[in-house]
Symmetry: C2
Subunit: 341 residues, 2 copies
Amino acid sequence: MKVSELGEFGLIDILAKTSHGTIDRGALSGQKLILGIGDDAAAWYGDDSIQLATTDSLIEGIHFSLDTISWEELGWKSLAVNLSDIAAMGGLPSYSLVSLALPGNTEVDDVISLYKGMVELANIFDVSIIGGDTCGAPVVVINITVIGSTGNRDNPILTRSAAKAGNQIAVTGYLGGSAACLEMLSKNVTLDSNTTAILRKTFFKPYPRITEGRLLVENGVISAIDISDGLIADCSHICRMSNVSARIEIDRVPVLPAVRDKFGYRAIQMALSGGEDYELLFTADAGVIEKTKEAVSCPITIIGEITGDKTSGVTLVDNKGNHVSITGKGWEHFTTGKDKE
Amino acid sequence: MKVSELGEFGLIDILAKTSHGTIDRGALSGQKLILGIGDDAAAWYGDDSIQLATTDSLIEGIHFSLDTISWEELGWKSLAVNLSDIAAMGGLPSYSLVSLALPGNTEVDDVISLYKGMVELANIFDVSIIGGDTCGAPVVVINITVIGSTGNRDNPILTRSAAKAGNQIAVTGYLGGSAACLEMLSKNVTLDSNTTAILRKTFFKPYPRITEGRLLVENGVISAIDISDGLIADCSHICRMSNVSARIEIDRVPVLPAVRDKFGYRAIQMALSGGEDYELLFTADAGVIEKTKEAVSCPITIIGEITGDKTSGVTLVDNKGNHVSITGKGWEHFTTGKDKE
């Protein structure tokens, strides 16, 4: 079977099983693993704190095109997607290792711009770039590892596996901006300069929710994920890992206003399935979410709830509770076989 | 200027400067950097120990060809080159993050073999594979990050910058096997099966000197590097970082016997410049090296000494102390301009 037939998540499952025998051997060197493959970051007990580590690669032609993203934006985004994983654990990032693979004809000034973008973001969150690796390659490959911690061994971390039936589901900020930006660029849609700038910023300079992740932990949230694959897909990860299901009321999903204004019926699809918004999706009791709302300066929107049903995954409903599905024309109520003909 | 004109080490220097402003910001989260970009691994003070982290990428067509290396060997080697960096710091590896970028038509069974090779090595040194990332790519890209520690905050680490004038220079094991294997494969040289197996093992399944690195520290060595770029190049890194020079007596260099037997006058060049042998090159006072020799089970060979001269880098000498140079025909004494005509 080919990797393309199996898909990313199937491959991760197999690799997690193949490497499972290596888990907890680290205990011999005095450390103890908390979370291995499968969450936003790996976590283990350090001496006085919980340590976190995450890694992500960005590959030219797969994750970005140098026709649309600037080198400086690319540097920012490469680090941001990793910081977002640390945010989704409720951690603070400390150190970063950067591996660059570059075609020989890459301009040195462009590589410096790449680093400047990374450094700009690193400085905001006090992350030190402490090492890495450079080599040649047919296309640009950027791999970044970020190491962080919770600061305290007794602090809980945010995991994908802690959602409980009865929890409300909430999301930080607004969704759909990255998918809209990708569509604007790939289809050469011309929008006013203000909208263009908003969408580019969402897609190319996502702002990792480190501060918000910390406040989630402080206010009692224990389950979260960052929205990289898309709201529905990432909510499904929580359901699978927590052995629960989710009901999302689509009218409550906070679509980025610029997307709602300019992309009509496509907007809800972009917000639900687009991905790469790097907002935090989290679940908690209503009271905890209320406290969190007061503590966090960005918008927090309740969009649904976790149910005890273990088999139905993520269900979308309208404001009357009727099931709906997302189609190329936006969303519609589930139709019978007859209607479909 | 293009990256290819500047070269790898020039690029690393520029990137180290560009990211220098981020160094020590980690102190705000209670940690303190010891070593950033430029050594085998980054190092910082954890709560009770010195933490280490290193990362390396292997890219198809640049670092390996799937025509010659098996997937299982590729898995072993990808982890081994990172463990070797931890060994060169005198540390113990604990955790590993694996990022795989794969063409869609890669066989899932091949990816499982890759992981099996990694797991085989990980289990030898009690390393847990705790996370990573998978994505598509035009060629196979494997990036591995290894996190380790010294076990104790007061333990010294092995650095490139601690060599002192008067130190002897020593090396573990034998050199030249990987360069010889590469030549055997690239020029379709047919050798007996025993030699072929020895050379393949050196190149494709290098055994990281973790145990030896620990014993070096315990016996008082404080300066070391692993031989990835080649003996001369890696010794030059120590000279530059320690602000000293080195004199290597080429007759003392431990060339792998199979290489000396089969590659004639080319053998010494392979041992001095070939790289990828992943042995440890270290410097210390004669007494410390004598103690180390007794403690370590692999051969330790003294090959030269560190001199106080800050400008001459690595000088090669024969057994009478006369300067020699390496040429396509092995080595020769330095010739005058007239002789060259």
